[in-house]
């Protein structure tokens, strides 16, 4: 599975459309090398965050994806067909919310302070809005996956180092999205693959 960053502001239709089509074209190009890959979701993060509110089980409650992200996810789910092309809207489309407050824990000095997982998964509810949180039992993350405790430690280490780098402005041309590519007049063409990030993750995991 992979993620492609699109924008770091409220998305507009042209931006989403074009990013989608370019990513689609890229996937079809890769199709020759890999099994059928398809677009299954949209990820977002909220600009504002309060401190983590937790209930007794240490789950943070309440943070929902912002309304523009829900809107985008709804329209993408309607429009992206299954790869078998029979015109059915993609029922498995998901909206991933990156928790800004948990991401903030990754900037702390102590790797132990990093709270995983940093994402929550949402799917369509009865009213077709993307505000239904998928329960933890159906989601495999580094926190509950096969990696066990080691998986968690590696995940924390990677996130912590990534955030340190970004916050120290020492990442030159590190991670960039479609809008960065456009603003830089066609430079930063690597917004789909983000090779630097891939390498960083591999290096940090060692």
């Amino acid at each position: 599975m992979d993620v492609v960053p699109v924008c770091h502001e409220v998305p507009t239709k042209p931006i989403v459309d074009m990013a989608l089509r370019l990513t689609d074209a890229y996937l079809r190009q890769q199709q020759n090398l890999e099994e059928g890959v398809k677009i299954i979701g949209w990820y977002t993060a909220n600009a504002n965050t309060s401190t983590i509110e937790t209930n007794d089980d240490d789950d943070d409650i309440g943070e929902l994806p912002n309304s523009s992200a829900c809107r985008i996810a709804s329209s993408m789910a309607e429009n992206i067909n299954d790869s078998d092309g029979n015109g059915n809207a993609n029922e498995d489309f998901v909206l991933l919310l990156v928790s800004t407050s948990r991401l903030a824990t990754c900037v702390k000095e102590d790797v132990e302070d990093v709270v995983l997982p940093i994402c929550k998964v949402f799917e369509k509810d009865k009213s077709r809005a993307f505000t239904l949180e998928v329960d933890d039992g159906r989601v495999i993350t580094s926190a509950n996956g096969d990696g066990g405790d080691d998986g968690i430690m590696v995940g924390r280490k990677i996130l912590s180092e990534a955030m340190q780098q970004i916050s120290e402005y020492s990442v030159d041309g590190g991670i960039f999205d479609f809008v960065d590519h456009l603003t830089e007049c066609g430079q930063k063409g690597d917004w789909i693959e983000n090779g630097f990030v891939k390498q960083f993750v591999l290096d940090s995991a060692r």
Binding site: T12, M18, R21, L22, A25, N48, G189
Partner: protein
Amino acid sequence: ITSRNPTTNQPTMMTTGPEEDLPTLIARQDHLNILRYIRAHKLREPRTVVTHGELLLGVISDDETKNDNDDDDDGPSVTIPRRQRGIGNAERLAALEQICVASLDLGNLPLAEACLDAIQAGTSSNSLVSKESSRYRKLLGMCLEASGDYDGASAVYDRLLQDNPSNGYASKRKYCILAAQPGKETEAMQALNDYLSKHSGDIAAWNKMAEACLATSDFQGAAYCYEEVILGCPLDSSIHAKLGEVYCTAGGMANAKLARKHLAQAVQLDPNNLRAWYGLIAAAEGYLEEVERLSGKGRKEAEEEGVEVAKELIKFGGEKLMQVYKGTDMMNIVERMLKQSSELL
């Protein structure tokens, strides 16, 4: 210094400040003029300001409290000498104000508060700045905001507004306090609305309002705001592009036409605006979709000319994109995408 805008050949505003450019001044470690330059050109360079400001004023900051008893851990302590050679009072105050704001930008609260105290304390000969000074109170308000004391900050701004109801700065900060708190989006927009009703010439505020409207999916509202911004910057390609994108997102025949118009204007103003080129293609396609949706042959025929124009724009945009991406890694996928696009025509 007068200079001319290289694109439009219009004279730009007179800027006072040092003749040399910033890298030269930094190489020379000319702290005073570095700060002056940044002030004159209204740059946002908080790290540079703090580094050189501290050197200029001889600031001593203790990052580790080297106390023996650990209970007394107040965090880093900052000392600013009351007098410094080679710098007059007015300059010193201006520098302190500048460093205070820069340190807030970096989240360095101890330094900001030290600056605030130093401003208020004045020099050893006399205390020049009264606590009642509105400029001082502005800074005080910002420090309170940064420390999270929103009620305290609000009180400061309310008093400033009492003293002078047209104090735009105080109203703006009141909006910022609301905008900083999650869950208060509606109240924040209301506060911004109030500000705009009294200061309708503030382009930056219209821009902020447009973003707030976009965040709540109010596209017509966002379009209205960006139209106001365009009144202030009619030759700015990126604003026309943004407005075009908003109209395109809003949908509907009339908006599709406006989208096309503004994106065409954007690429005309700046042929290097890659975002505008993509937007132009998207807007033209959006317009064609709207025409498809029209019921009745008569209405479709009325749009015949528009359809021709839209198809030309898509072709034109496609050619430009291929030009831009020629020889790059992305060329193939852009070509694929454009082929898909032309199949839809």
